[in-house]
Symmetry: none
Subunit: 232 residues, 2 copies
DNA sequence: GCTAATGTTAATGTTTGGTTAATGTTGCTT
DNA sequence: AAGCAACATTAACCAAACATTAACATTAGC
């Protein structure tokens, strides 16, 4: 098997180097960055199977970096390293979409188990074509990378991140059920009464945009989800 | 959203009860077992979205239970709770196929985040789709995913969740007895006088829909159940 | 003919969704 | 630091969809 690529962002040079070597010995392909800024640059230039981020870093902390990474890529697993054991930090990490959390000092073998478990998990997941970013929706054209939605080739409207992700998810299930739960867990990363209401607000916004083309419609399937119908 | 089912196996009755209540408050459907034996019995009798196992338990410890659970089900996520913080234990847990690991005392909010993260992860995984959702019933066509029923390819009618599930269950027993009890326990999740009457109301509704095709009929088998007859 | 089960319709109760506006939040600009 | 702009969440209100219960009629089976 091809060596898995890990992005390691750690500002302590000693600890960073040791951890990097340890991971290399265990057959990973490791890229080390010594701060959030550099970490993000390296992230953009390559494709990684996993990111290990130190939380406490100068200039740009691990959470901020994680948020930036998540904007570019919703899939890549993220593990946080932290010396602090504050509850708030852990919760913050999970909200940003962490896959796991490790307190320093930690046992290297435990880290290794976690890495393997996470990579294994990702391997078994079937990817719902995530690189696709251009969609034809009736007479609309959606570019989910630039977050542009244009009608009949006219001047495009800019969509907010949530609007865009939701429309994309609907488009990926064109004419089929897009379960509420799926959008909530994937886009909102939480599933409760309020996020659900928030989603409804976004559905209303999308309907407003899509009103221009009467062959395009978002239908509700009561209690289940929504369905983007495109009449031909 | 349907409440997620959690199997909680914890031998300390006080701690178990508190944790159970906490999870219930947070909208989970919790089954508490007070030892490994009982835990396994309950596991076999129901379908859970998550198992939380105490490691230290009399008769049957958490690892042994986890191994048994894994034999029956490779999918269900498992979280271990342990007072010990020994590396060996953690590794042992991961080997048995744990999804996460928590040291007592732990913060309840952290546990909650972990539970959410894990359940969310499962939601994203694509399940082996073995459930049929398209049925031909005489000149009707039922799509139980979109909850559509169309007659002779005409514009489909929308069915309510209960209507749809009931018709699907009848269709699965086409020309054969569909026992009352089956529908009541599977669809209504309860079997008493009122749910039974409710079901009769739904049978009436379905009959109204199916009236269009005189070759299709729902017959009653007194005291037993119903039978969806399709004359050819 | 009597009783329990079923058929049917309508009323009542409950949950979910549609929509608009107010309120938070965050990062950026001046 | 104040204020702005963009976005997201929460609130509030209403409507629609759905489910249950009630009430009364009918039927099966003894």
């Amino acid at each position: 098997m091809e060596a898995k690529k890990i992005l390691l962002v750690e500002d302590d040079p000693n600890f960073g180097a040791i951890l990097k070597d340890y991971l290399i010995i265990n057959d990973f392909d490791v890229t080390l960055a010594k701060n959030g800024m550099e970490g993000f640059e390296k992230f953009k230039k390559d494709t990684f199977d996993l990111c290990i981020l130190d939380v406490m870093m100068p200039y740009k902390d691990g959470y901020t970096l994680a948020r930036e990474i998540r904007e570019k890529n919703q899939e890549v697993p993220i593990i946080f390293l932290t010396a602090k054991t504050l509850k708030e930090d852990v919760l913050k990490g999970y909200k940003v979409g962490a896959d796991d959390y490790l307190n320093k000092p930690f046992d290297s073998e435990v880290l290794l188990m976690k890495i393997k478990a996470i990579i294994q998990r990702k391997a078994t997941e079937v990817k719902p074509d995530n690189n696709k970013f251009e969609f034809i929706i009736g007479s609309f054209h959606l570019n989910s990378k630039l977050r542009f939605l244009s009608f009949n080739g006219q001047e495009p409207v800019k969509l907010s991140p949530k609007e865009c992700e939701l429309l994309k998810m609907l488009a990926l299930h064109e004419n089929d059920l897009m379960p509420r739960e799926l959008a909530l867990t994937k886009i909102w990363r939480d599933d409760n009464y309020f996020t659900s209401r928030s989603m409804d607000v976004y559905i209303a916004k999308l309907r407003k945009y899509l009103k221009q083309d009467e062959n395009v419609e978002i239908l509700n399937i009561h209690g289940e989800g929504f369905r983007l119908v495109i009449k031909k």
